[in-house]
């Protein structure tokens, strides 16, 4: 009677549950287990668990085997199974030993949760937290997302300012896709990477005979982008001579290809991008003021990743899902330790650097969770350094003293700055310096 109640109870839970005896034969298989594996209870009972469960770890690192060997529970290990229909299903499993009344281990119990629903919910949340492939839910990103449609609708020249890797090209593409120019081409050119003569021929094209080897006419990027959008990346790096030529295009909407005397009219939406401050360059006399005002019609400043750390988990999920798709993998995400390490990191290379870190981790981690060991050495190294900086066995007060001393050193003795870094009030910092007898 009691067993029947237990079985009914286990049949009502949404997680799959099965038990095995000491010979790894299934002795109980609940309703959710049938649903997730696609194997009916009457087929499963009495079978070897690996023939029914078909998990990625059955052969190499069976969790139940570990539990029965060590008598320790395993919780939320992420693996995948292949169900009866041949579908790969990501699941999280937990195991525990089964004991009789005398405490003797007589088998094991494994419960497992279908993570497809969790992943679906995550995807839905991701869709809400993105705009035209740009990921972010931080306040700054949301403000930018709100700004994108009206800016795209206008034909005004846009200046995108942001450090390298902040997604300037993604924003430019989003502006193009949301604009009336979207049926035409989006053309991007990195102005900082080319000498003047090459940049001029790339932007405006040339006529046959314009210079040695110019045997036939070549269209420039402005001509290619006719009716569409051109992104002039790294505009802060172009020479004064090129600035003058660009000014004419922006002012009069005409240009002359190299070797041509006929001006060509252009109808192109211009987006300029730079990782430098154009205002500063103007002040320093390195950027023409009139060109600055031509490109500075609408300015959007893209935040660095460290200025929107709350978006890091979202971006991590996005990149993990992307690399899983590209590489046919089943990496479940980042371990808590690895995510904490990334949350602390400053990302000088911004989102691009984060993407590279996840790509690096995918080389070393083929399934399960990305651990600290899978991160690039400079991230692991700092972790090791951090651990050794705080030796084991310290009291809380001693640790607090060390951390405050370090923060003061980093901030050249500036108590207010050190307090800000440690997230405490300045008055608290002063009090602690006094009570811990620190030299501030």
């Amino acid at each position: 009677m009691l067993e029947k109640i237990h079985n009914q109870l286990l049949d009502s839970v949404p997680d799959g549950v099965f038990t095995v005896d000491a010979d790894w034969r299934i002795t109980f298989f609940n309703h959710a287990a049938e649903q997730i594996t696609g194997v009916r209870r009457q087929e499963a009972i009495g079978q070897r668990c690996c023939d029914v469960f078909r998990a990625s770890i059955c052969e190499s690192a069976c969790a139940l085997k570990q539990t029965l060997a060590t008598h320790r529970r395993i919780a939320n290990k992420v693996v995948y199974i292949v169900n009866a229909q041949g579908e790969r299903i990501p699941i999280s499993i937990s195991t525990a030993p089964l004991k009789d009344a005398r405490g003797k281990v007589i088998g094991g119990v494994e419960s497992f949760r279908d993570l497809r629903l969790v992943n679906e919910l995550r995807q839905q949340a991701e869709q809400q937290d993105s705009f035209s492939n740009i990921i972010g839910r931080s306040a700054t990103m949301r403000q930018l997302f709100e700004l994108l449609p009206p800016v795209a609708e206008s034909d005004s020249t846009v200046l995108l300012e942001g450090a390298s890797g902040t997604g300037k090209e993604l924003f430019a593409q989003a502006l193009h896709q949301l604009s009336r120019h979207k049926a035409k081409r989006f053309v991007a050119i990195n102005c900082g990477a080319m000498p003047d003569t090459l940049l001029e021929s790339e932007l405006f094209g040339y006529k046959a005979g314009a210079f040695t080897d110019a045997r036939k006419d070549k269209q420039g990027r402005f001509a290619l982008a006719e009716g569409g959008t051109i992104l002039l990346d790294e505009i802060g790096d172009i020479s004064p001579a090129m600035q003058t030529r660009l000014l004419r295009v922006l002012q009069e909407r005409v240009y002359e290809p190299l070797g041509s005397v006929e001006p060509v009219r252009c109808n192109v939406r211009v987006i300029a991008a730079t990782n430098k401050s154009l205002t500063t360059l103007v002040k320093e006399g390195k950027f023409r003021e009139d060109l600055f005002y031509r490109v500075h019609v609408v300015r959007m400043e893209l935040p660095s990743l460290r200025a929107r750390r709350e978006d890091i988990p979202l971006l991590v999920d996005h990149f993990v899902a992307r690399f899983n798709r590209l590489r046919s993998r089943d990496v479940a995400g980042l371990s808590d330790a690895a995510l904490i390490r990334l949350m602390e990191y400053d990302f000088p290379g911004n989102v691009r650097e984060l993407e590279n870190i996840i790509e690096h981790a995918f080389v070393l981690c083929r399934s399960g969770l990305i651990e600290l060991a899978h991160l690039p050495p400079h991230l692991r190294g700092e972790e090791e350094g951090r651990t050794s900086a705080l030796p084991a066995g310290l009291t809380l007060a001693a640790m607090e003293k060390l951390l405050i001393q370090d923060a003061l050193k980093r901030n050249q003795g500036n108590r207010a700055a050190a307090a800000r870094e440690l997230g405490m009030d300045a008055s608290t910092m002063f009090r602690k310096i006094k009570s811990l007898k620190l030299k501030g």
Partner: protein, 153 residues
């Protein structure tokens, strides 16, 4: 003809996608002429299928495998006979004698109709020594074939 079987502890590995060892048996005129084992590192379905095809495998006998991997293997020209379970030597022998459709070699949830007395129940009965299900008449066994041979790793 080269037959491949993913193996784990003398049995067919439960999941080809995660298998670590592949046994390759080459036969000529009904006799086993060579046998070797290859180690499989964790690979994507495409890489695994290409790797198996490069081993010039004609037929792959395996337990569960994902749809994606099955598609890739078939695309690479490898004939796949899935949803098998049991001890490696017994499976090999059954393959040779065309007796792989016997219930004891079918995995649970093998996709056949789940009628009372269906294949899995027949297997349970077979294991318990009771007769169950239809069986093909046993072919003459070429005894020299698939007996234990020296394994060249």
């Amino acid at each position: 003809m080269t037959i491949a079987i993913p193996i784990s502890q003398e049995r067919i590995s439960p999941l080809l996608d995660a298998a670590a060892r592949l046994l390759l048996v080459t036969c000529q005129r009904g006799k086993e002429v060579a046998r070797k084992e290859v180690v499989l590192s964790p690979l994507s379905p495409e890489e695994l299928a290409l790797g198996v095809a490069e081993l010039r495998v004609d037929v792959l006998l395996c337990a569960a495998l994902s749809q994606g991997l099955q598609r890739e293997l078939e695309r690479c020209g490898v004939r796949v006979q899935p949803h098998l379970c049991g001890e490696t030597e017994a499976v090999l022998q059954a393959f040779c004698c065309d007796r792989l459709n016997r219930p004891e070699f079918r995995m649970p949830g093998c996709g056949k109709p789940h009628s009372p007395g269906g294949c899995c129940q027949r297997r349970n009965m077979a294991r318990n020594g009771k007769s169950g299900g239809k069986e093909k008449p046993t072919a003459n066994l070429p005894k020299a074939l698939f007996q234990k041979h020296k394994v060249n790793v």
